[in-house]
Symmetry: C2
Subunit: 234 residues, 2 copies
DNA sequence: GGAGACTACTTGTCTAGACAAGAATCGGCA
DNA sequence: TGCCGATTCTTGTCTAGACAAGTAGTCTCC
């Protein structure tokens, strides 16, 4: 017999009633003082429940005004992108990687701009194909800022994925990415063993650590062999 | 000149030092009592900072043991999927929709199973193409559980998107979705005005409200005209 | 009528203290 | 040696009160 914590009781009540439509989107909800009176708990307890619901995006709060049911027009969901090696092995397949390119290059204009380095500055460039069992599932074309990961080219990428290594070198970072469908380049098609016009899921990710760009990567997945999964839970 | 709230100071300090690698993943971090002494604030203030970092996934806390830097192997990011109408208008385009199908059908085996209804039970089926200005950007093939949205077929989908309507009828829900690249069906290609082999971003979404399935949707986007954007910020 | 002061209500935050519960360590006892 | 209880440290949570700051309405005075 476990007693539910008071803040959880308040939170659960509000969540349930929101789900029932007691307060339609945009409607004013009970104030903290009213909830304090209703549940017989202290204001800090009510405040915690409300703050957590706010973080979860279920309510909006405005100082001086009140608490409102959130308009749930935007559907914000978490998409977990795991390290590819972990993901493949977690599904019971064997992962291996083939390194087709790992060298120092001078940055093209486009790469220099996105990596925040000077034109023609040295950058690291790797091109790696990842396999699940014997099937190629990802072609990873990546540029790395040498200032952030000087030892990048010394890594054995058949054993450690670039993502894994970069996470160790620069532990905290921000990433922006876009996901689209497209066709592979001729080289990508050849490396993945697919047709030039076969649809691919293309993820372009740019990673920044403490406002210094670390890496930009183009990840091309054959459409028939790779899925992104997501879940949304209020 | 705005003073930073004490809990934010503590949080920011911990975040910065985590980013610097002061506590590598798995390492024991300062206890609440130590942070209280260091910052001269009350324990509740420190506790709030730590709790928020925990929610953000940067640290792990274990009662009786201590606080630990989180192993940042998994990369969890939020992907926001907004209502298509809002997204198109927010970009300065005009949205309109053409309804190609809106009727009651008997559920096929596959639909019945995924919607949680009996085989041959009545379900609602809509097929709608969404345009940004005059360009088709999404083909929305959707089945709806009539028990959750009895009035679904009476909605004017040229004015209200199905997502928007369903959000009003059933305000809180959970969704699972998969994102993949593929080719459109012959009908989808015709409706979107694209080639039969053009790559498309296909989102399949299943929505559940209080453990009752509401709707399953297949959203097909021409690869050249639609992107998903995401961001990850620790 | 209009401007400004005042008031009431809201959320945002902090404090000092308290008790509970989980976990490790240490001492004593069989 | 091995087991058990006491101690201590940790996080988890709650309380009652306080002040700050944003907002809206009202009231007064010009």
């Amino acid at each position: 017999m476990v007693a539910i914590a008071p803040f959880a009781r308040v939170k659960h009540f509000l969540k349930r009633e929101l789900g029932r439509g007691r307060w339609p989107p945009g409607r004013l909800m009970p104030s903290e003082a009213q909830l304090v009176a209703r549940f017989g708990v202290s204001r800090m307890t009510v405040n915690r429940a409300l703050r957590e619901l706010q973080v979860e995006g279920l309510i909006e709060r405005r100082q001086g005004i009140g608490t409102f049911a959130a308009p749930l027009h935007r559907v914000s969901s978490t998409l977990t992108i795991r390290d590819l090696h972990d993901e493949i092995t977690a599904r019971g397949h064997a992962h291996h990687a083939v390194v087709h390119l790992a060298r120092r290059e001078s940055a093209s204009a486009a790469v220099a701009e996105r990596l925040g380095v000077a034109r023609d500055a040295a950058v690291f460039h790797t091109l790696i194909v990842h396999f699940a069992d014997a099937v190629p599932v990802q072609c990873e074309d990546r540029f790395v800022n040498p200032a952030c990961a000087p030892g990048y080219l010394d890594v054995d990428f058949t054993r450690i994925t670039p993502t894994h290594y970069l996470l160790e070198v620069a532990p905290l970072w921000e990433a922006q990415y876009s996901i689209e469908a497209g066709v592979p380049t001729a080289r990508e098609a050849r490396l993945l063993g697919i047709g030039r016009r076969d649809p691919c899921l293309i993820v372009v990710r740019r990673t920044v650590s403490r406002s210094v760009p670390i890496t930009i990567a183009r990840l091309v997945h054959p459409g028939t062999r790779y899925l992104l999964h997501g879940e949304f839970k209020p």
